[in-house]
């Protein structure tokens, strides 16, 4: 064999990076598990194997620094497993630090090595752990015991998440892209099948009383069922357990708790809940934000907690479960809760609500004000969670993923954020309708009701069209206008030129807002495979994607939340007030 070419080496390095990052993450997780239950031999063995693989692999691709560090870590676990040394918190710290050094080196734009100096430093620190003799160790660990009550930086992982990691099943690793290609094909088959389905009645017309027609439509129906099954199975393949996200929290939480000098107990449950792979990574940041907020703003210090008769360690729980077509994730703490009065005050100051609004607002609604940008009752700005922007950013991110977030809080009792996410991002059940001569779809989940109406039912409030829905008015959005199909034709928003006299108002509920979309004609409801729009459309954030129907027609799928925002922006541009929209 000849020497490796540059391309081959790069490819190997790519494999090395992917695999090693996974190993590092698993090792970090196992280390924290060990911290709470020190004699988990299985975790130890996994850790040693992880270090072993890292050592062997890095040696292969000439990353000497990584090899040295990994080798030393392996030695430490060898020593632990053979009973030569005991495992304690100090070891966790040192090993975590070494793993970080490795991660920092290999996770750059190019896979790099741990600098010699860092490697030596790490090897030295690890050697110190390895060479601790028993006598010295026992005095140290008794020191540990004594300082335990003052040691306030502890984030332990709930027992349930360990249980999850033990139930390992058989896996085959498949690239996500391959599954997505399969999903795409399944989607195309759905479309192809519906073409066949639509042919059925036509064939029947053309060949009346031909017994083949019956057989044809029977076969077509059967095929439809099979394809639906196929699609469902492929979607399932895209599912991963949410544990993938959850397990990444233990580490930063531990660090944050230590930094803040707060005692934090992180309880994780429902890690086995499955959701779309695409969501998993996107959920990490928002959830981490909420967790950090909980530590920073939610939990009191141990002293304060004792005064209130609460346990010294603050409890932060993160829980996931399925509910219908949704994954629900709750992030709750047992801290001080949100002060509605203070929040209202700030909201008034910031001009987000009026004094009258505040007076009408229940405490429950007031808690939701945390989602308004720039509002926060926290007195202190911290490095990690920042201030104020937190909850608003989370809400935006979650809604971007077609999810929703609500908050419940009790003064002194704690706060709970509840996220509801769709199971998958790839398929939605949608309401199809036409507007401005085009075919549109809206996620059925966002539709709260549909009303048949006529022009005379429309009222103009502050220059904005409104429809009276029982006891309240909902602002109306005309898709053609908002998506700027109509605008250039001169209709300045009123858009009443040659509208049919009867039309429909599709009432949407997104977050806490309700508004109506004007539809000329309703087509029906259907499951749509969302396809991303190409760059020509990308600028239009009000569209979530497109789909092709059985008859070949293209349907534009609107993003319920973004359509509304775009409408607000549009009206604002015309000088109309925002309040008129925010009902």
């Amino acid at each position: 064999m000849d020497d490796l070419t540059k391309a081959e080496l790069d490819q190997l390095l790519g494999v090395f990076r992917d695999q090693s990052l996974q190993i590092l993450e698993d090792m970090g997780h196992d280390l924290l598990t060990l911290e709470s239950s020190r004699d988990d031999a299985e975790a130890m063995t996994r850790l040693r194997r992880g270090a072993h693989t890292l050592k062997g692999d890095s040696a292969c691709v000439d990353l000497e620094g990584v090899t040295q560090v990994a080798h030393k870590i392996e030695d430490v676990f060898d020593a632990v497993l053979t009973g030569q040394i005991a495992f304690d918190r100090r070891s966790v710290d040192v090993i975590l630090k070494s793993l970080d050094a490795v991660k920092a080196a290999i996770d750059g734009a190019e896979v790099g090595d741990v600098p010699a100096e860092t490697a030596n430093e790490m090897v030295e620190a690890l050697t110190a752990i390895q060479n601790r003799d028993e006598a010295c160790l026992s005095t140290r660990s008794s020191d540990d015991q004594k300082s335990e009550p003052r040691q306030v930086a502890e984030a332990s992982i709930g027992a349930e998440s360990q249980a999850v990691s033990k139930h390992r099943r058989d896996y085959v690793r498949v690239e996500t892209a391959k599954i997505d290609a399969l999903l795409n094909l399944a989607g195309e088959m759905v479309i192809a099948r519906s073409v066949i389905g639509q042919l059925g009645p036509e064939i029947e017309m053309a060949l009346p009383r031909n017994e083949m027609v019956g057989r044809f439509s029977g076969a077509s129906t059967h095929m439809g069922k099979l394809i639906a099954e196929l699609q469902k199975s492929v979607l399932k393949m895209r599912m991963v357990t949410i544990d993938h996200v959850f397990r990444r929290f233990a580490r930063p939480m531990r660090e944050l708790a230590a930094e803040r000098g707060k005692e934090v107990e992180l309880q994780i449950s429902g890690g086995e809940t499955e959701l779309d792979r695409a969501l998993v990574d996107l959920l990490y940041e928002p959830l981490l934000h909420l967790l950090r907020n909980a530590v920073d703003h939610g939990l009191e210090t141990s002293d304060v907690r004792r005064n209130f008769g609460k346990p010294a360690a603050g409890r932060i729980a993160i829980r996931a479960y399925h509910e219908g077509n949704h994954v629900v994730i709750e992030v709750s703490d047992d801290g001080r809760g949100i002060d509605p009065a203070a929040l209202k005050e700030r909201a008034i100051e910031a001009g987000a609500i009026t004094l009258q609004d505040a007076g009408r607002m229940s405490d429950e609604d007031a808690a939701e004000l945390v989602f308004i940008e720039g509002l926060s009752t926290a007195k202190r700005v911290t490095r990690l969670s920042g201030r104020g922007i937190g909850a608003a950013a989370v809400k935006a991110a979650i809604e971007q993923l077609r999810g929703s977030v609500v908050v419940k809080s009790e003064m002194g009792g704690g706060t709970c954020f509840t996220l509801r996410m769709p199971l998958t991002l790839a398929i939605i059940r949608a309401l199809l309708f036409t507007a401005a001569g085009r075919l549109f779809a809206l996620p059925l989940l966002a539709v709260s009701e549909i009303a048949r109406t006529e022009n005379s039912d429309i009222v103009h409030l502050d220059g904005i069209e409104n429809y009276r829905l029982r006891d309240r008015f909902v602002s109306l959005v005309r898709p053609g206008v908002v998506l700027s199909f109509d605008r250039r034709k001169g209709g300045s928003g009123a858009g009443l030129r040659h509208e049919p006299s009867h039309f429909f108002v599709v009432v949407l509920a997104t977050g806490d807002k309700k508004y109506g979309v004007v539809a000329d004609e309703l087509i029906g409801e259907q499951e749509l495979v969302i396809k991303p729009l190409d760059s020509h459309w990308v600028q239009n954030e009000a569209l979530a994607g497109a789909s092709v129907l059985g008859d070949g027609r293209v349907v534009l799928i609107m993003d319920a939340e973004m359509v509304f925002r775009k409408a607000v922006k549009y009206e604002r541009g015309k000088g109309n007030s925002r309040e008129a929209y925010a009902i």
Binding site: D3, L4, L12, F16, T53, A59, C60, V61, D62
Partner: protein, 363 residues
């Protein structure tokens, strides 16, 4: 051999994606080898072996769910598949490798320690796979001499016997198994000390010595500088050091030294054989055994030239007929012996030397 050559179908088992990729890559360059599948742990490996019936399996040791040694047991006993272990260059790796050889692994290859070593590793792996494909696994699993050695005698040369003769053995690929069949059959009262070079990395040689010592009547140990190669004792050159011999009043003493690789090896068989030829001349016996390359052939020639007995293992019993082939082709060997007869041949030959020595003494 049939004229139409079928490719050797290989299953690569390793929990590291990088290793799977790399090993497959190293093997794909050889036209006679085809990697038919990979597996990430022992469980998958067993399933795939049952389905695909590969000719050779390369097996990692440290894997989740089912480790290499456990899988190896079944691969050997149930499927009779030739297995090559992928070992790490550590003490633990060495110990596990010896266990694996004991359990019936055909051979082992050390995981590469850098891209510069890859071509070398590729050559080694390819030839070991080819050798493994021809191996009768059933024969490897059963240790030849049943039961432990009768009695450990230890070196008896201090009593003044046979200080004048030496047997030098050189082996490479396939060597551990060959030695495992050969050395236990040598009686402890053989009237000559034994020195051995087996191409192996550091820490593997001491494990090898330990492993052989358990099953031999002879005392087998990894050589330390200054050790005496007395009758009843076999000294194995440690990895990464050359071994020479010199005659002293107390008997044959081994000298270890660093320095450059010779023929790409350290220890090198040539280095040992040459010093044996120089120091012992007609009273030297050199045995060149299974292995890749040509190390030792030249040295064997020098033993022959010095009047000593130059022996080559025969082609049929060699896992890799490389080093002995060169020696035979160049006419450096004066005797070709099958592995199974090697011990008895050696005993009778040493006996002949003793007579020779005695006859010198009488004159």
């Amino acid at each position: 051999m049939p004229s139409e050559r079928k490719k050797i179908r290989v299953l690569v088992v390793d929990d590291s994606a990088l290793m799977r990729k790399l090993i497959s890559k190293l093997l794909e360059g050889d036209p006679e080898i085809e990697v038919i599948a990979t597996a990430i742990d022992g469980c998958f490996a067993l399933t795939k072996v049952a389905q695909l019936k590969p000719d050779v399996v390369t097996l990692d040791v440290d894997m989740p769910r089912m480790d290499g040694l456990t899988a190896l047991g079944e691969l050997v006993s149930k499927h009779r598949t030739p297995v090559i272990m992928l070992s790490s260059l550590t003490t633990r790796g060495a110990a596990l490798t010896m266990q694996a050889l004991e359990k019936g692994a055909v051979d082992f290859v050390c995981k590469p320690s850098g891209t510069a070593r890859l071509p070398e590793m590729a050559d080694e792996l390819v030839s070991k796979i080819k050798a493994a494909a021809r191996t009768n696994v059933a024969a490897l699993g059963s240790p030849w001499p049943a039961g432990p050695p009768v009695k450990k005698k230890g070196p008896i040369g201090a009593q003044g016997r046979g200080a004048g003769k030496i047997v030098a053995i050189g082996a490479s690929s396939g060597g551990p198994h060959a030695l495992r069949r050969f050395l236990p059959r040598i009686p402890a009262d053989l009237d000559a000390g034994i020195v051995i070079v087996q191409h192996m990395p550091e820490s593997f040689t001491s494990m090898l010595a330990h492993w052989l010592n358990e099953i031999c009547e002879l005392e087998v140990k990894e050589a330390e500088s200054g050790d005496l190669a007395l009758p009843g004792r076999a000294l194995i050159a440690p990895g990464n050091q050359h071994m020479r011999v010199r005659t002293t009043p107390a008997g044959c003493q081994v000298v270890l030294e660093g320095g450059a690789q010779v023929n790409g090896h350290k220890p090198s068989v040539d280095v040992l054989f040459r010093s044996v030829a120089e120091e012992y001349g007609a009273l030297a016996t050199g045995i060149i055994m299974t292995g890749m390359g040509s190390d030792g052939a030249q040295g064997l020639g020098e033993i022959k030239k010095a009047g000593g007995n130059a022996v080559a293992q025969d082609k049929e019993s060699c896992a890799v007929y490389g080093m002995p082939r060169i020696a035979v082709e160049k006419g450096y060997a004066n005797k070709i012996v099958p592995l199974a007869e090697m011990a008895s041949y050696l005993s009778s030959e040493v006996g002949r030397l003793v007579e020779l020595e005695n006859s010198y003494a009488c004159k």
